[in-house]
Symmetry: C2
């Protein structure tokens, strides 16, 4: 999904090294996050936050998140299944949404957000993830190959089930707008300065590459 133009790792370094790279980076995320225990002055509050953040990272990356979503996507593609809206939504929420949820929730957790704020951040991130994925599918149809840096029309060619395939271009654009409006509205509910986050979300969603 995030490949843009350049040949991917496995093309340059071979399958095995591509797989090991993925393993190494997944593991390195935990190695890096665990360093934060050494960097705190070890107050109970901070340790609790780090622990909660690590648990969110682990859960959202694993079988109940990114990897689980990827497994369903691979299986569906292999079997050439035509997906229901519910199934497609499950894949997007997990494969794409879970790590965005993780990033936003961890920010909140480490900054000391309340439980209900963290829950709100999760909901916002889920909308962002879904809007991001639908925009990706839209760009696969109407994007500019030069700007995008990859060939368009590959989803249709590969008979990949997407929102655009299920609902058409206009309804998909509408969905992106609804989702990003929902996210921004919920974000406004926070009593903090959310300008940067809002800009980031809009740039993630309304991109042309």
């Amino acid at each position: 999904m995030l490949r843009r133009g350049k040949p991917t790792t496995h093309v340059i370094y071979g399958e095995a090294m591509g797989v090991l790279c993925g393993d190494a980076l997944l593991n390195y995320a935990f190695e890096t996050a665990l360093l934060s225990f050494e960097k705190t002055s070890d107050t109970k509050t901070l340790s609790k936050r780090i622990t909660a953040a690590l648990s969110v990272l682990a859960k959202k990356a694993g079988i109940y998140g990114m990897i689980g979503g990827q497994v369903c996507d691979v299986e569906a593609e292999k079997k050439g299944l035509s997906l229901s809206e519910e199934q497609l939504s499950f894949i997007i929420d997990n494969k794409t949404g879970a790590l965005i949820e993780s990033a936003m929730m961890i920010g909140g957790i480490l900054a000391g957000a309340s439980e209900s704020e963290i829950k709100d951040l999760e909901i916002i991130a889920k909308s962002v993830g879904k809007a991001f994925q639908i925009q990706d599918d839209i760009l696969d149809v109407i994007g500019d190959e030069a700007t995008l840096g990859k060939p368009i029309g590959s989803d249709e060619k590969n008979e990949k089930p997407t929102y655009v395939v299920l609902h058409g271009l206009e309804a998909s654009k509408e969905m992106v707008k609804t989702l990003s409006d929902e996210a921004n509205e919920k974000l406004h509910g926070f009593s903090k300065d959310t300008a940067f986050l809002e800009e980031l979300i809009n740039s993630l969603i309304y991109r042309n590459k």
Copy 2:
């Protein structure tokens, strides 16, 4: 290395699912280990031990451990390199040894072993890992296919550099004995009941399948 007789995951479920399974299990190790924070009554001592154990797990699994060793092994095999003893040793120590070190060190850490005891456990586990790998290479030459559950002679056929290839069968058997004697001797230095651990180590090293 640990395959015995049955077809492997990727043969039955395909490459992609095999890779995702590996990712999922690696991630699940962290998910599971992180649950221990919830299961303690959250004393400072226990939290510190869990944190130390997690850091060992992450480091020994990653680029400075198992994955790093696997990368070197794959690269060496791809390029058909003839390895020096030092290079072969590096690969074994990381690919095979690091996770055995991790398992033994984590046991010690959670039980409250001192720093020097944990260091000793690491040294013991390194010997066990190396002996385990050399025994694996020996069995590839002299093992019984029916007991082993896989064809023998595959290392020679694949021109895989091993201790047996470098030093011959007798010197390799001698090396396994030296390494396991070293491990057991160091283990005797502990003032705890080490009978089970000793039996486990011997069964790992002196196996015929």
